[in-house]
Amino acid sequence: MLALFLRDIRLGLRAGGGVLVGILFFLAVIAVVPFGVGPDLKLLARIGAAMLWIGALLATLLGLDRLFQADRDDGSLDILIMASERHMLAVTVLIKCLAHWTTSVLPLVIASPLLGLFMNMEPAAIGATTLTLLVGTPAITLIGAVGAAVAVALPRGGLLVSVIILPLTIPVLIFGVSAAYGAVEDPAPFIAPFLILTAITLFFAVIGPFAAAAALKSSAD
């Protein structure tokens, strides 16, 4: 299992700067916002957390369609499925998700404090947003794994994966953003939405891999 994790990390880092594209997309989305809403620093500070979350959400969806398709294209997926008695397929999926998150989403989380400065956010808001992103983005990857597994057999599944997943990620977005705001605005609570966010991630860490594994098994032809 560790071997699979290391292989996927190695692939993520070696194959064609996929990490860089994700960060670049995130940066570009955030850089576009001030042109859309105007460079008013107060306004930017207020919508900053939400913009960071939306940017991170879209950037996370970007590479998800390749999660299983790359393995299917070269035949590795068959062998991974056949080994399901040695290594439960759901665990294999979970490991692949973790490797994908580490190589292409964790850099986004690390870059988000810098982008927070661009949005003129307060230090507390930046810290809260980064923390919620760290806790919440694994849920997006895990939900995305289901979509990627369902669409794995489709030749042009890329856009479809995003469209399938986006509605499912709305709860993550809601609680992520409300926790980020809760840390700054006084009446709103931080702990409650943050705990719900953690619960969502843990919930999908169990449900997501099983659903994705079932979809992968039935997709083989």
């Binding site: 064609g16 700067g17 860089l20 594209v21 960060i23 670049l24 940066l27 570009a28 850089a31 001030p34 042109f35 460079p39 620093l41 930017l44 400065l117 661009f118 003129n120």
Partner: protein, 255 residues
């Protein structure tokens, strides 16, 4: 007359990667030593320089911020020239030069943004504003990252070279925008004080350390660029030799 001929002859010689490697091997140690010496002198002068009566000690950030900003634009200009070299003259080293310069340019641009931000915080009271100069430099940073992503995305350097060159040239529009943004738009960023018509407006006690630091960082850029180019040539040789290895093993296998 004869001198120009011999000089162009030498340039043509350098087009050969092997000649370039020899040239770089001979020049790099000296260039490195000179770079270190100039940078040390610049740092010494920076420490000695007086504080500005308006900006206090933060003016010391200028001694690195201005060279970084200048290098971020110079590096892109060099990449654009290399792009021309790839597209027009098909110079074999032009693509190597562009690919090697991109990460260095990105690093200098990032430093210009970071030091500017650290300077702006005490002076303007904010880390960042979306004004013309800052935004255009940020766009330059994104351009660098995009070019790096494009050069890494394709396996075959010959294929990626032309695509990268075209992208680089299109992005060059940004450079004059950065340069003149402080004059065209009324922004928070102060206008140029060194390279301007009618001489610098800056006090000599601050100008000299700035100039030395600028020369030092420019030398640093050229040293790093040459090293990165050499690495890139080596990397391509490794790829070529591996392909030969696979093919020669095949021939031995059939025999």
């Amino acid at each position: 007359m004869s001198e120009t001929v011999s000089r162009t002859g030498r340039w043509v010689d350098l087009a050969n990667p092997t000649k370039f490697l020899n040239f770089a091997g001979a020049v790099l140690p000296w260039l490195g030593v000179v770079t270190v010496l100039v940078l040390l002198a610049g740092l010494w002068m920076t420490v000695q320089a007086p504080d500005d009566y308006q900006q206090g000690s933060t003016v010391k950030i200028m001694f690195i911020h201005v060279p970084f900003a200048w290098l971020s634009m110079m590096c892109y200009t060099i990449m654009s020239l290399s792009a021309l070299g790839t597209l027009v003259w098909r110079h074999p080293l032009a693509d190597v030069s562009a690919k090697a310069a991109a990460p260095i340019g990105a690093a200098f641009t990032a430093l210009a943004l970071i030091t500017g931000s650290l300077w702006g915080r005490p002076m303007w009271g904010t880390w960042w504003v979306w004004d013309a100069r800052l935004t255009s430099v940020f766009v330059l940073f994104l351009m660098y990252l995009g070019i790096i992503a494009l050069t890494r995305a394709m396996d075959d350097p010959a294929k990626s070279a032309r695509a990268t060159a075209i992208l680089t040239l299109v992005g060059f529009i940004n450079i004059p925008i950065i340069k003149f943004s402080v004059d065209w738009w009324n922004t928070l960023h102060q206008p140029a004080s060194v390279f301007r018509m009618g001489g610098p407006t800056i006090d000599p006690s601050l100008l000299w350390p700035l100039l030395i630091m600028a020369v030092g960082f420019t030398l640093l850029f050229f040293t790093l660029h040459m090293m990165a180019m050499r690495n890139e040539i080596w990397r391509r040789r490794v790829v070529a030799m591996r392909r030969i290895a696979a093919r020669s093993a095949e021939r031995r296998g059939t025999r």
